[in-house]
Subunit: 365 residues, 2 copies
Amino acid sequence: MRVLGKQEIEDMAVGAALLGTGGGGDPYIGKLMALQAIEEYGPITLLSVNEVPDDAFVVSTGMLGAPSVMIEKVPNGNEAKEALETLEHFMGKKVFAIYPIEAGGLNSMLPLALAARLGLPVVDVDGMGRAFPEMQMVTFYLDGIQASPFVIADEKGNVTLLKTIDNLWAERIARAATIQKGGAVMFAVYPMTGRNLKESGIHDSLKLEEEIGRTIRLSKEDNCDPIQEILSLTGGFELFRGKVTDINRKTEAGFLRGTAKLEGLATYKGDVMELRFQNEHLLAKTQDRLLCITPDLIAVVDAETAIPITTEGLRYGSRAVVIGIPCHPKWRTAKGIETCGPRYFGYDIDYTPVETLIGKGVALK
Amino acid sequence: MRVLGKQEIEDMAVGAALLGTGGGGDPYIGKLMALQAIEEYGPITLLSVNEVPDDAFVVSTGMLGAPSVMIEKVPNGNEAKEALETLEHFMGKKVFAIYPIEAGGLNSMLPLALAARLGLPVVDVDGMGRAFPEMQMVTFYLDGIQASPFVIADEKGNVTLLKTIDNLWAERIARAATIQKGGAVMFAVYPMTGRNLKESGIHDSLKLEEEIGRTIRLSKEDNCDPIQEILSLTGGFELFRGKVTDINRKTEAGFLRGTAKLEGLATYKGDVMELRFQNEHLLAKTQDRLLCITPDLIAVVDAETAIPITTEGLRYGSRAVVIGIPCHPKWRTAKGIETCGPRYFGYDIDYTPVETLIGKGVALK
């Protein structure tokens, strides 16, 4: 157990943006909410997953929708509370602790804000080890844990509780309701026992986020190359360096979808990198070679500062480095690849680990 | 209190088709389900609304979606039970009786089937005095009674519970979820007290349905004109007689929408009637004159037998009589007209009562 203050939150937000792989919503809003909640209600207790009793009732809270909507539709703080309380009422038990569904973006920060407000601890665990765009893309799903009962609440006060036969239906119905509710809602989902969370979750995600953030922050005074530091911390690879020349983004079916192009600089001169995203970056390729593909992580960072850049933060002319990071081994199983590999997102490409692709890539049809 | 056997159900189904004004789903499926439930579980108890204690907990059950989908997606009987039980669990109380949301179509029959199965009484009351396509189009809405908590359940086993800030949001979110769930679901909605039901509902709707059905059935042996009998029973008017020459139907946004044209016969020769519908008939006009418009009832019946014809049962060449029936006075208030009058459905026409229009009509722009 340890207590999180403002500096920890600041560092975590930077790490969350990196593991958010461009999506998951800009952690900036979540950070502000968490900082404000600490200001009002005091510091937040972070529990290691091993400190959670086996029979404890734990729930994940966060925001569902398109990141570009979230920027304009900042939550008022009541939605997550309302979602959590509706779930508690329906299940007839009180929540022991909350945890982030993903280790990336807004959703790794929002549980901190709610926890401070409700005086609940947060568990240092998540269901992705990164960010993904859909609710069934969690290790819990791979382990047969149900997303439902699943509650979503909007800022107007509408609350919807779903009991679904499987997690794909949970995603499908929740997404349709979210679009009706204006494109972004707060959720309480994957209610489970401490034991399930321990066995199925990815441990110490918030700790990793904080380390990434601290490393980037300290690299300047330590006079280190922040990008090299991140690569060694995450086991990642530099895929490309270049200048953003083209961005296409649209919000459709409740997602932010699009592509970005970068023209190579330095040793990459003459090459063009194309990134494809659905909230998160899913595919990185040059003209003819695949360099990294989901479920491995693709992050874009500022070439100078290593500060991560989200898909909605990409600007024409930005100098950026594209990084590939191996995903958690759970995602490299057959069910993991089926759940969030290339074909799920409509790419007719086999998954190949980033460490195999690096340096040579595979030729694309 | 009285007990309903098979003949009563048969008669009610015919009356329900007439008050269904072409929509509400073909009561045939509901009738079969009710008859089968009586066969298995015994007769159904029908209570007058005055026999329901003021503090009793009552709920409406039925089906939400496009009638054309319902024909192919017959409920398995578990959905309504699941919806009702989820609502009971959430509200922490047991249902005393169920009641139909509308006096028309499938939804006036389905509560009978569920009641037989669960051994619950049905209350002789409804919220429309006819059928309407949307969940907020009930007298309860005019009286400020909330639709939610509101549960919908599909045949796969997915259950969604909505707590909404108003009944328009209930309709909007439920409709989106219904489309995801295949276009038709069973619901448990408008939970309220016996007292609210008494004060806000339209009384004796099932009795009227039964009288209409019996009148049509007996007119043959009594050698009466069944259409004249219906008109005197409902206070309705004959608007047109003709032959169906043109039908356009499509299922969109969860509704069956379309138009039908009839060429005049006998005294109507040379005239063409056009009907417009969204599940239910909403507007009846000749080339240049409006003859009846929502919320007044427009029903199409077989010219020989007076058996009602639904919008999905309209066939090229059918000989039909179009009937206009004054709606319940609650629908003729300002809020009633705002809720389900012409402009709500996108017709730039003022509401004029059918008895004012009859014989002369109003000129259309």
